[in-house]
Symmetry: C2
Subunit: 136 residues, 2 copies
C-alpha cells in the first residue's frame, strides 16, 4: 500500500497535537463529525491514529487504548476506505516484522481534526465557561 497521491490538502501539515483542549477551569471540548452515509470521525478514531503514529504499530496502538487487535484493524480499515486515499500504511515483514504509520493524508486529517477542536473551543470559550459556572 502506498500513500502516493495522498494529498494533505491545501494547508501544510501541522504537528500532531495530543494535548486536550481545555477551556474555563478545565472543561474539555471534544468534537464529532458525522458525514452521514460517508462515515463519521470522532475522538476514538483520531486517538487511534495518533497512537499508531506514536507506536508505529496498529496492535500496539490498540493495546494502548485497551482495544482489541480486531477492533483496531476494523477502525483502520474503515478509515482507509472512508477517504480518497489510505490514511494508514502498513509494512509487512522487514526488521520490525511489520509496522504501520500514517500517510501524509492521515497526518493532515489528524491535524485538521485537532485544529477544528481547538478552534471550536477558542471560539466558544465564553459560553463554555458560562456552563461551567453553573456546575455544582
Amino acid at each position: 500500500m502506498t500513500s502516493e497521491g495522498a494529498r494533505p490538502g491545501s494547508r501544510g501539515v501541522t504537528k500532531l497535537s495530543r494535548k486536550p483542549v481545555r477551556g474555563g477551569d478545565g472543561a474539555r471540548l471534544t468534537i464529532r463529525l458525522d458525514f452521514g452515509e460517508r462515515g463519521a470521525l470522532g475522538p476514538g478514531k483520531i486517538r487511534l491514529l495518533e497512537m499508531i503514529e506514536e507506536t508505529g504499530s496498529i496492535s500496539a496502538a490498540g493495546r494502548a487504548m485497551a482495544m482489541s487487535y480486531r477492533r483496531a484493524w476494523i477502525l483502520v480499515d474503515s478509515l482507509n476506505t472512508m477517504y480518497q486515499a489510505p490514511v494508514v500504511e502498513t509494512q509487512h515483514g522487514g526488521q520490525r516484522g511489520g509496522g504501520a504509520r500514517l500517510t501524509l493524508l492521515g497526518k493532515a486529517l489528524v491535524a485538521r481534526y485537532r485544529a477544528i477542536e481547538a478552534g471550536a473551543e477558542a471560539a466558544m470559550r465564553a459560553d463554555i465557561k458560562a456552563i461551567e459556572r453553573e456546575l455544582a
Copy 2:
C-alpha cells in the same frame, strides 16, 4: 487489508435528531463537554432534555429515544445534581398524573449547549469542508 469499494455502513437514521448543525455538504458537528469529576455533557443528555420539554414527561422522552425509563431517570438525576439547581422539575399527581419540564436553568443549559455547537460549526466551517473534500 483493503476492501476497495467498501463503504462505511449507513448508520441508522435517528428520526429524532432535529435541526442538525450542518457544514459543507452535510457534515454534522456535535460536541461533548467534559468537566472532569464534575461530569460531562454530550448529545444524549441534551437531546433527552429537549425531548422532556417537548413531551412533558421523562418516560415519554426516554421512549422517544429508545431509552429505558430507568436509564432516562438516572440521566435526569445526574443532571439535576450536576448543576447548582435542578434542570428538570417534576410534578406529582395532578391532571396529567405527573409530568416533567425544564427549569429556567435547564432551558438555559440546552440553549447554551446548542449555541456552542452552532458557533463551533460556524467558526470552523472551512476546516470541516476541507475534511469533507477528502472523503471517498
